[in-house]
């Protein structure tokens, strides 16, 4: 509980209208996109500038009040669930694009800017910001940075981390720091920018970010290839990379996903094929044409049963429908949808998909897999029902097996969704006790009172838990 006096202090800092304490007002910030996690904050506060953030943090530090920074609450790791109460910090006022620098090719934004709004703004100037999480229509840059989010263009262009050049952040003691700069080269001191990227709100509060932009690619082409075996599809992927082509997009869907998509969208997909690859290339027209031709050749050679290159933009759109509808199709099957992101080295995709199917069968649950074939980032997705406790236990066990298999194959428990609360119990598998120890030491030196998003990243108990809350 927060004392009335402290609450009044908050109100003096940000204005009465920016402190919410009603039960309905708090309830709507008690969740994010993670199934089965919910917990009420004591208050919700919307600061208007960095100075106010710093003042709030100072009060919280004195009173040991937990702070949960929140963008749009679309993360899938329970990263913004206020599991230990305290305040939720909103950036709805801090949502402006501050500068688009066409000479240095950078954009400077406040953390609450919606990703797609920023992408559209820079595209109007002929510039390109590649990280494109599927949630970009609503996710914020603050959230993207703190989850180090990826997207469909990750294989060729990298993820959010590769575009963060400079940050302004408020530390848990109230200090305001600036890291990095509009510099291509900078080795002055530890790379705090990179440390803060992906820190999930557990180290500091990002209040401003300068991001790198690149020139817009001139053209883009799209192709769809169907396969009778997962192996053949995976072989095509390796062969394409071996031919020194890095496509902009290289996505795949497995058969259970295809069946769901066809059921839902009725777009004439064959449901007897085992895998589909969606491939896109962008760049100068000559190079795109050459790459597409080569890749089509490779796919055909590797036993694709059909290879289709879109002739027009409308056709391209039709080809991408299946990939874009994957989540919608699966989400409609059952009330609860569990979307994971185990990731393995590219060369292990076949083994991982096989393992996922076996694990699903073993635990008698339905799991469909789609994802980023180019970078080994898979989305095994389980349509289930949170009310069916028996099934939820089995889902839990299945995902534990999947994570363990991913690590065994040299992969990781999460490629882009983050650890949060949801995957905290598994982090030690990936990092080892030594890894956890140094991470805890870093956390302690930033935040000795553990007020920044407590309960996330580090598990309180080593009990394995994916989805079952009781």
């Amino acid at each position: 509980m927060i004392s009335t006096q402290t609450m009044n202090t908050f109100k003096t800092i940000v204005g009465e209208e920016n402190v919410i304490t009603s039960s309905a007002g708090r309830l709507v910030y008690s969740y994010d996109a993670t199934p089965n996690f919910q917990s009420m904050p004591d208050a919700v506060i919307a600061p208007r500038n960095t100075e106010e953030v710093s003042q709030i943090v100072t009060v919280c530090r004195e009173q040991k009040i937990p702070i949960v920074p929140r963008g749009s609450g679309t993360n899938l790791a329970a990263g913004t669930v206020p599991s230990e109460g305290g305040i939720v910090l909103l950036f709805k006022h801090m949502n402006h694009i501050l500068e688009i620098d066409e000479e240095n090719l950078t954009v400077t934004v406040q953390p609450g800017v919606v990703t797609l709004d920023m992408i559209k703004a820079v595209e109007q100037k002929g510039l390109f910001y590649p990280p494109d999480p599927s949630s970009m229509k609503i996710s914020t840059i603050g959230g993207n940075i703190n989850e180090n989010s990826g997207g469909l263009r990750g294989l060729k262009y990298g993820v959010t981390r590769d575009y963060v050049m400079a940050l302004q952040a408020v530390l848990p003691n109230g200090d305001i720091i600036r890291t990095g700069g509009k510099l291509a080269k900078d080795v002055a001191g530890y790379d705090l920018t990179r440390l803060l990227v992906g820190s999930e709100g557990t180290l500091a509060i990002i209040t401003e970010a300068t991001l790198k932009l690149i020139p817009m690619p001139e053209t883009k082409q799209t192709m769809l290839a169907l396969y009778n075996s997962m192996d053949a599809a995976a072989k095509s992927v390796s062969e394409i990379i071996a031919a020194k082509i890095i496509p902009a997009t290289l996505e795949f869907l497995d058969r259970p996903t295809l069946i769901a998509v066809e059921d839902f969208a009725q777009i004439g997909l064959p449901t007897d094929v085992e895998a589909v690859l969606l491939i896109e290339q962008d760049g100068p027209p000559e190079i795109v044409a050459r790459d597409m031709e080569k890749m089509a050749e490779i796919c055909t050679r590797e036993q694709a049963v059909s290879v289709q290159i879109a002739a027009t933009e409308a056709e391209a759109l039709a080809l991408t429908t299946a990939r874009r509808a994957a989540l919608s199709a699966l989400a409609r099957l059952k009330p609860t949808t569990i979307l994971e992101d185990a990731t393995v080295p590219r060369s292990e995709i076949v083994n991982m998909v096989k393992a996922i199917n076996e694990i699903a069968e073993k635990h008698n649950v339905r799991i469909a897999t789609f994802g980023h074939a180019g970078d080994g980032n898979l989305h095994p997705t389980c349509p289930t029902d949170a009310r069916d406790h028996d099934e939820m236990e089995r889902v839990e066990a299945a995902f534990a097996d999947i994570f363990s298999k991913a690590i065994e194959l040299g992969g990781t428990i999460t490629g882009e969704h983050g650890v949060g609360m949801m995957k905290a119990p598994y982090l030690e598998w990936k990092m080892g006790p030594e890894g956890i120890a140094i991470m805890k030491a870093i956390k302690h030196s930033f935040d000795p009172d553990n007020i920044m998003n407590p309960g996330k990243m580090f598990a309180k108990e080593t009990r394995k838990r994916v989805v079952v809350t009781q």
Binding site: S22, S23, A24, G25, L27, V28, Y29, S30, Y31, D32, A33, T34, P35, S72, G73, T74, L90, K92, H93, N95, V114, S135, K137, I138, L327, S328, A331, R332, P335, T336, T337, D385, A386, R387
Partner: protein, 445 residues
């Protein structure tokens, strides 16, 4: 469990009992609906005024996590019911059904302010269910307009007693037809071109009174498109106003009477020219799903519902009939329910783009609600006017002379917007049907 008043406890119990838990759970809280929600945007990104927030509140009340207090009710009241959150939802959550049920529960236990209560009673019990009274009421409005009373009232400043939106609305109302004209119209019409279909026309309560001209135009267009038309007796208000305002029982009664009336016609399609009505008619199968006598019949009924623009498009009206107007720029404001529930948004655009002389310019955010939303613009006047003013900015940016709509509520709201902007000399708002008839009159078949 939180502490609740006795009223809150009853409402909470009703939520547990009546809200569809499966549908509540269907929402996976992905937030994909947030950018489409007008109230989320207009409140400066307040999650409690978003679809995800509203569903979370309904679920929390259902689960007994929070009390159904004033703020929960406020959140539901401020929802426009525009259902822009539905087509963008990956999980296919039927938000409209959840909202209707939740509002119905609140309405069952509400102590409305006496004035609101009186309005509700007049509207929901006295007026809309009775077509003859609708005619009468609208006739009174006509007498008021024609007799000079309107002028007097304006001079006396009588209208100042009402909220802003009502004042401008009073100016925006169309000149209504005489009662004798309402009574005169026939009940069946034959195709004026090669016959393609037999249709039954749902003439609507408001459409058949205040907007009689538009209804007559609809019939003419259908004739030109090759339809035999029947307008069955005994049909009445679709029930949308009731359904959206928590008067579900009233809505069911109206629905049954309409099914009775239309079953006898054996038409291929049932045509509407009001997106708001169409969307409610098309949902009768859900409304009556638990009624043993009507559930199957409702399904047959809803399968036949089509908007006028959709059937004209399907019958290739725009290619068979020459369409021509004086040079002008036109733009279109989607009817939320036509677009989000009936999924009709291509047909009207194709029709408008086929008119020679009219330069069609798409308005930014044409797919987002204009703030009319049934009686929303009266009961939630401030938010409605805020939304309307932003809408008018977008409309003005197109430099359109003509703003086209496909629903009477939207039409009135656009007229209201034009009044508020002081543009009535240079900009007009029309129903798409009237525009199409205007465009084809010079080329009689």
């Amino acid at each position: 469990m939180t502490t609740m008043t006795a009223r809150e406890r009853t409402i909470q119990e009703q939520f547990s009992l009546r809200m569809d838990e499966g549908e509540l759970l269907n929402c996976m809280r992905c937030g994909f609906c947030l950018p489409s929600c007008p109230t989320y945007i207009e409140t400066g990104f307040d999650e409690s005024q978003s679809p995800r927030g509203r569903i979370a509140l309904m679920k929390a009340v259902h689960d007994g996590l929070i009390a159904p207090d004033e703020e929960v009710e406020r959140s539901l009241n401020l929802c426009l019911g525009c259902r822009a959150c539905e087509p963008v939802c990956p999980a296919g959550v039927n938000y409209g059904h959840l909202l209707e049920e939740a509002r119905d529960i609140f309405a069952d236990h509400n102590e409305f302010k006496p004035a609101t209560k009186a309005i509700r009673k007049t509207v929901f019990e006295g007026l809309f269910p009775h077509q003859n009274r609708m005619e009468h009421a609208v006739t009174l409005l006509g007498i008021y307009q024609r007799s000079g009373l309107q002028k007097t009232a304006r001079k006396l400043g009588f209208m100042k007693l009402f909220p802003d939106s009502m004042q401008a609305m009073e100016r925006a109302l169309p000149a209504v037809p005489k009662r004798s004209d309402m009574k005169k119209r026939g009940r069946s019409f034959t195709a004026l071109a090669e016959k393609k279909a037999t249709v039954a026309f749902f003439s609507g309560c408001l459409m058949d009174t205040m907007f009689l001209g538009t209804n007559n135009a609809t019939v003419k267009l259908l004739q030109k498109a090759g339809c035999d038309i029947v307008i069955p007796d005994g049909q009445n208000c679709c029930g949308a106003l009731h359904g959206h305002s928590g008067e579900k029982d009233g809505a069911k009664e109206l629905a049954k009477r309409n099914i009775d009336a239309f079953e006898q016609t054996n038409a291929d399609y049932i045509i509407t020219n009001a997106g708001g009505c169409g969307a409610f008619l098309i949902d009768y199968d859900h409304l009556l799903k638990d009624d043993p006598d009507y559930s199957e019949r409702a399904k047959a009924f809803t399968a036949k519902i089509k908007d006028i623009t959709q059937i004209l498009f399907e019958l290739n009206f725009h290619e068979r009939v020459g369409l021509n107007v004086n040079p002008q720029v036109i733009t279109y404001q989607d009817s939320c329910h036509l677009r989000n529930v009936m999924h009709t948004h291509i047909a009207p655009r194709v029709l408008m783009q086929s008119i020679t002389g009219a330069e069609y310019r798409e308005m930014d955010n044409a797919d987002s609600c204009c703030g009319s939303a049934g009686i929303y613009n009266i009961v939630e006047s401030d938010m409605s006017m805020q939304i309307l003013d932003h809408k008018m900015d977008k409309a003005k940016a197109t430099n359109a002379h003509t703003i086209v709509t496909a629903n009477p509520g939207c039409l009135l709201q656009m007229k209201l917007g034009i009044e508020r902007e002081g543009l009535s000399e240079s900009v007009r708002a029309v129903h798409i049907v009237d525009l199409l008839l205007e465009a084809c009159d010079e080329f009689p078949l």
